[in-house]
Symmetry: C2
Subunit: 251 residues, 2 copies
DNA sequence: CGTATAGTTGATTAGTATCAACGCTAGTGG
DNA sequence: CCACTAGCGTTGATACTAATCAACTATACG
């Protein structure tokens, strides 16, 4: 599947975009994460420069190195961001859900590839127009800054995971991350749904598919989690998971 | 050695701070990274709220979890930032040099420990005063935002390293990082000086001291680097290092 | 000069990767 | 409707990278 055309010329409502129809007939701009603290006027102004679209699952939004024209926000759905080495080794640097934004670039190019995990509604803005609005609406800039700080803190936490945690600790941490995230979205803490494949989980945790699978099985045997099916995990012993995640668990 | 007192009450010039003398008689505020794009007035204003100090090597600036009162900028010297697991496993999340800033916190607490590597001159500002100035000087906020974005991009690059690179590739990447950084500071690309210990390098790359040492030796045997002493590395075959770092090298 | 610390090197182990086979599920088409 | 196939996930056997344990060397320090 081809990525979104990064060179798309216009964002007018009547623009013809056959393959990936972006449009403006979405009046839920307030749902946008970086609009949440803005005034009515500011939200209205933002709405004039946004495009909205629905993408199928496993659809590439943009690729590492593409010109970084747009900033994206997830209305509904889920997205993975990843980087590749030339021989195909892959590191997923984040799983994103409703309210998350992505699409930062340096030197004009995206520094990771973004791909939907499930059918997703995305909003997007050109960096150019957004930049002009940042001057007008300081709160918008403040919001984007604070979201970037949060991303940085998460990234640092993930470095600790990748560099120093064992496979079991990595998987435990991952399940708790998903559970916390689900709660933020108003879903129950358990069971957690896994919209991503085992390969995605492996590439997120710096493991192989086989090790992820074995670790799930091991946690199930120890009655720490339940696995009704490959896409769902029941957190039976959340405290045990927490101890594993923090490295406090007995060997 | 105790960390800086995070509850220090005042930043007035006459304030008495015996253990760690912060003072204002530094007129090199322009050197501060986040001042570099500001007007003369803005810099003058910033100077009224800054404190300046010199710390010895291996001195803790603050610890993970301490109340995040201050933002720091390195005038000269070097700092390491790290996170710990409860059993002592450590992940260094960054080595910082002149012009770098650190001290972001979430929920009012620092999320990593900061320690000097070498004797260092630091500038610091309270987040409280800085926040009030952000409203006055949009360019300041813009600058901090763009520095945070750069940090985030580096963190994502480091995730790829920690999750997917081999020991040799990790060390090669690290040496090139230091070399590039040295060039930015106006130093030659080689030899690179290593102000940090092997233990620090290991905890930065997700390896052990022994593996770091062996990998240095291996690269030296292959005439890719030279090791005049433990603290300096000559990049003999920079292209070879680059291939290793990108995973392009022959097995 | 003796001691402590950092770094290097060697021997062995352990954890995870790799290679391989198998089962399950979903989609396809006869 | 059901066999066929493809893709994903699980499990097993083995290999290999890096960790661990241990000894030794070099350097800094009192």
């Amino acid at each position: 599947m081809p990525p979104l055309d990064a060179d798309e010329k216009t964002e007018r409502p009547d623009a013809h975009e056959p393959a990936v129809p972006f449009c403006r007939n979405c009046d839920a701009v307030r749902e946008l994460a970086f609009c949440s603290d803005l005034s009515h006027d500011e939200v209205k102004r933002l709405a004039t420069v946004r495009c909205h679209t629905h993408l199928p699952a496993n659809f590439p939004v943009f690729r590492e190195g593409d010109p970084a024209d747009h900033l994206y926000s997830i209305s509904t759905g889920a997205v993975k961001l990843y980087k590749l080495l030339s021989d195909g080794r892959r590191q997923i640097i984040g799983f994103l859900f409703s309210g998350d934004m992505f699409g930062l670039g340096v030197d004009g190019g995206y520094c990771y590839t973004a791909e939907t995990l499930v059918p997703s509604h995305l909003c997007r803005f050109t960096h150019r127009r957004l930049d002009t609005m940042l001057g007008e609406f300081p709160r918008l800039e403040r919001k984007m800054y604070s979201m970037t700080v949060k991303d940085l803190v998460s990234a640092q936490e993930q470095m600790l995971l990748l560099g120093r945690k064992t496979a079991k600790e990595k998987v435990a941490t991952f399940l708790l991350q998903l559970s916390r995230r689900a709660m933020q979205q108003g879903h129950p803490a358990s069971p957690v749904s896994l919209p991503m494949s085992r390969a995605d989980i492996a590439d997120y945790l710096g493991l192989t598919i086989e090790t992820v699978s074995r670790t799930f099985t091991q946690l199930r045997r120890e009655d720490i989690i339940g696995l009704p099916d490959a896409g769902h995990v029941v957190l039976i012993d959340a405290e045990g998971l927490r101890e594993l995640a923090e490295g406090t668990a007995a060997p």
